[in-house]
């Protein structure tokens, strides 16, 4: 089994320089990524980035034109593909359910295809899986009458029915109301508690932020950067940052001379300080108070995944040329430094 780039856990999925073309279009272009075992890996990228194609390659539904895909150490597009697919649970962007059948019959169909067979024991397992996602009471109803949220829950139940070890979720909250989306994300988190490995595609940064142990940022079929969000954020924003506003900007320039301030930017009555450690912030506040400044706000900057995403894209020439434009728009903090510090070359394809 391959090892993930971080080296922390063995990689369940290893995609190595895979190119997939559909006619003249390169859906994936020399994509490489690794999915560590027992973690949630989130594929991030705009529509058309190649996220869904990557999932289809992992189950062997598509085969690469170049490069290799290894899942549980086997080639999913080869003779061992059936074994790989038996260990995968897939929830696609559209729930892929049979509207004319009841929820129960949809799950029974999956149970039979995945080798669970038929009979009372299987029916018990079906109800158990449905109950896990709060849809057991509606199993006798025809799926055509389900709401979008119910369909997603049923699709999730179907995906876990055969107790897969690798969950592949392609925008599982697509079309859901906020309550249902939150519930689904909580269920995804629970899956890793059960030891499952999760690979999830999304272009919704907020939900990725709640879940991701590792993110993989993609664009135009290529991998831009991957790693755990905190480590990646530290590369783009190596210094803890705080934004302070005082009445008339009093005392802000003097504060730049306090030990531990690495950099300083003044803008009107506010200033942004980059510090050596976050513990300096109380000292700055105390120094301002001692100098008689009327402090109006102190806002430590915690880069969100959204900040990180745009910073990565900007660093790779996607989106706004200067990520600080985006961050300035959010009025939260300055942009990152010129780029990630010591970004490992093997993780950056282009």
């Amino acid at each position: 089994m391959a090892t993930s780039p971080a080296g922390a856990a063995p990689a369940v999925v290893a995609i190595d320089r895979v190119t997939k073309r559909f006619g003249e279009v390169d859906a994936l272009s020399a994509l490489s990524l690794a999915v560590p075992e027992g973690r949630i890996t989130v594929l991030l990228g705009p529509n058309g980035a190649g996220k869904t194609t990557a999932i289809r390659l992992i189950t062997g539904a598509l085969v690469p034109d170049e490069g290799s895909v290894s899942v549980f150490g086997a080639d999913p597009g080869g003779p061992d593909g059936e074994g790989v697919r038996m260990r995968c649970g897939v929830v696609s962007a559209k729930p892929s359910l049979y509207d004319r059948l009841s929820g129960m019959d949809n799950l029974r169909y999956a149970a039979e295809l995945y080798g669970l067979g038929r009979g009372p024991a299987v029916d018990d397992r079906v109800v158990e899986a449905a109950d896990q996602f709060g849809i057991a009471a509606d199993l006798e109803q025809r799926v055509g009458g389900y709401s979008t949220g119910m369909k997603t829950r049923l699709a999730l139940a179907r995906a876990v029915l055969h107790r897969p070890t690798l969950m592949l979720l392609d925008e599982p909250t697509s079309g859901l109301d906020p309550e249902s989306a939150v519930a689904v994300l909580a269920m995804v988190r629970d899956m890793t508690a059960e030891g499952k490995t999760v690979l999830m595609c999304t272009h919704l940064l907020l939900e990725a932020e709640r879940l991701a142990d590792q993110i993989v940022v993609m664009d135009n079929g290529a991998h831009l950067l991957s790693g755990d969000p905190d480590t990646l954020a530290a590369r783009f924003w190596p210094h803890p940052t705080v934004s302070i506003t005082t009445a008339n900007g009093f005392g802000l320039d003097e504060l730049a001379r306090v030990p531990g301030v690495a950099d300083y930017q003044r803008s009107g009555t506010a200033a942004v300080y980059q510090l050596d450690v976050a513990d300096r912030i109380p000292h700055l506040v105390a120094a301002l108070a001692d100098g008689g400044a009327a402090i109006q706000s102190v806002v430590p900057f915690q880069p969100s995944l959204e900040d990180l995403y745009f910073a990565i894209r900007a660093h790779h020439g996607r989106g706004p040329n200067d990520p600080s434009e985006y961050v300035a728009w959010r009025r939260r903090a300055p942009g990152p430094e010129s780029g990630p510090e010591e970004a490992p070359k093997e993780q950056v394809n282009r």
């Binding site: 073309r21 559909f22 006619g23 289809r56 189950t59 062997g60 539904a61 598509l62 059936e82 697919r85 038996m86 995968c88 897939v90 696609s92 559209k94 729930p95 892929s96 359910l97 049979y98 509207d99 004319r100 059948l101 019959d105 169909y109 999956a110 039979e112 295809l113 995945y114 080798g115 025809r142 179907r158 592949l168």
Partner: protein, 273 residues
């Protein structure tokens, strides 16, 4: 090859078909019209009502039948001869047209329908192989057509024996040739037709296009099957067996080649696969 999965795919498709009243009601009416309504009216008008004009016309038609066929009704009255000729020879195409029409209608949407509904994604990610899916779809398309024949043939046999039997000395139907046609000749024609229709279903972009294209493919095949079915009934001897054997060979070759048309990429509706 996992035959349990093949059966699962077929059973699930049939279960969905059973839910589709808008499909099976017209198809049931079609079968009833061909196997029950039209034969009953025609045979009644000859045997019971004794329409002289129709009997005369049919008696002339009997003259074009081969001697072997004529010999079967040599010693019965004109009404009996006409009724027998109608029952045994004239309605042969019924047994071909009805199942081919029904199975073609089911098969045309078998693959492209999965793609249109988005359920092809589920099948593409499932452990079922493309071959298992293909065979499951083939069975699911074949069974409604053949089931209609089985039911229709039984009803037709009862009607024919009740209406014509008294004139020809008792129950005579199904004849040996009809048994050969139903059990030996019809299945390969059905399989051959479906192998072509499923190929189309895998390749076209919509169910509507599949229905159109299937019509073009199945029509000449229906005409061929029509003529061969007539040959089977009229020919006698080894002719029916030979026609069926040839049809089986062609069907098996076509089915084997047709397996390749179903790919996971096509279930997903991905271009260039």
């Amino acid at each position: 090859m996992n035959y349990r999965r093949v059966a699962t795919v077929a059973r699930t498709d049939l279960r969905q078909l059973a839910q589709a009243k808008d499909f099976w009601v017209p198809m049931g009416l079609l079968g009833s019209a061909f196997f029950i309504v039209v034969p009953t009216i025609l045979l009644l008008s000859i045997t019971t009502i004794g329409d002289v004009e129709v009997v005369d016309q049919m008696a002339q038609a009997l003259e074009v039948l081969p001697e072997s066929a004529m010999a079967q009704v040599a010693n019965v009255n004109p009404q009996g001869q006409t009724g027998y000729a109608l029952a045994v020879f004239l309605f042969a195409p019924v047994a071909v047209i009805v199942p081919l029409t029904i199975s073609t209608a089911v098969g045309a949407s078998a693959i492209v329908g999965e793609r249109e509904r988005g359920t092809g994604e589920f099948l593409a990610h499932s452990p079922a192989s493309a071959r298992e899916i293909y065979l499951g779809k083939l069975l699911a398309s074949m069974i409604p057509g053949y089931f209609t024949v089985a039911v229709g043939f039984t009803a037709y046999s009862v009607i024919v024996n009740l209406l014509v039997g008294p004139d020809v000395g008792g129950w005579f139907f199904p004849t040996r040739e009809w048994w050969i046609m139903i059990l030996w000749v019809l299945p390969p024609f059905l399989a051959l037709c479906l192998s072509l229709v499923l190929r189309l279903s895998a390749r076209v972009s919509s169910t509507a296009a599949a229905q159109q294209a299937s019509g073009l493919v199945s029509l000449p095949l229906i005409m061929t099957a029509y003529s061969q079915a007539t040959g089977v009934l009229v020919g006698g001897g080894w002719v029916p067996v030979a026609i069926g054997g040839l049809a089986w060979v062609v069907a098996i070759v076509s089915l084997t080649r047709g397996v390749r048309s179903v790919t996971r990429g096509r279930l997903l509706g991905v271009a260039g696969t």
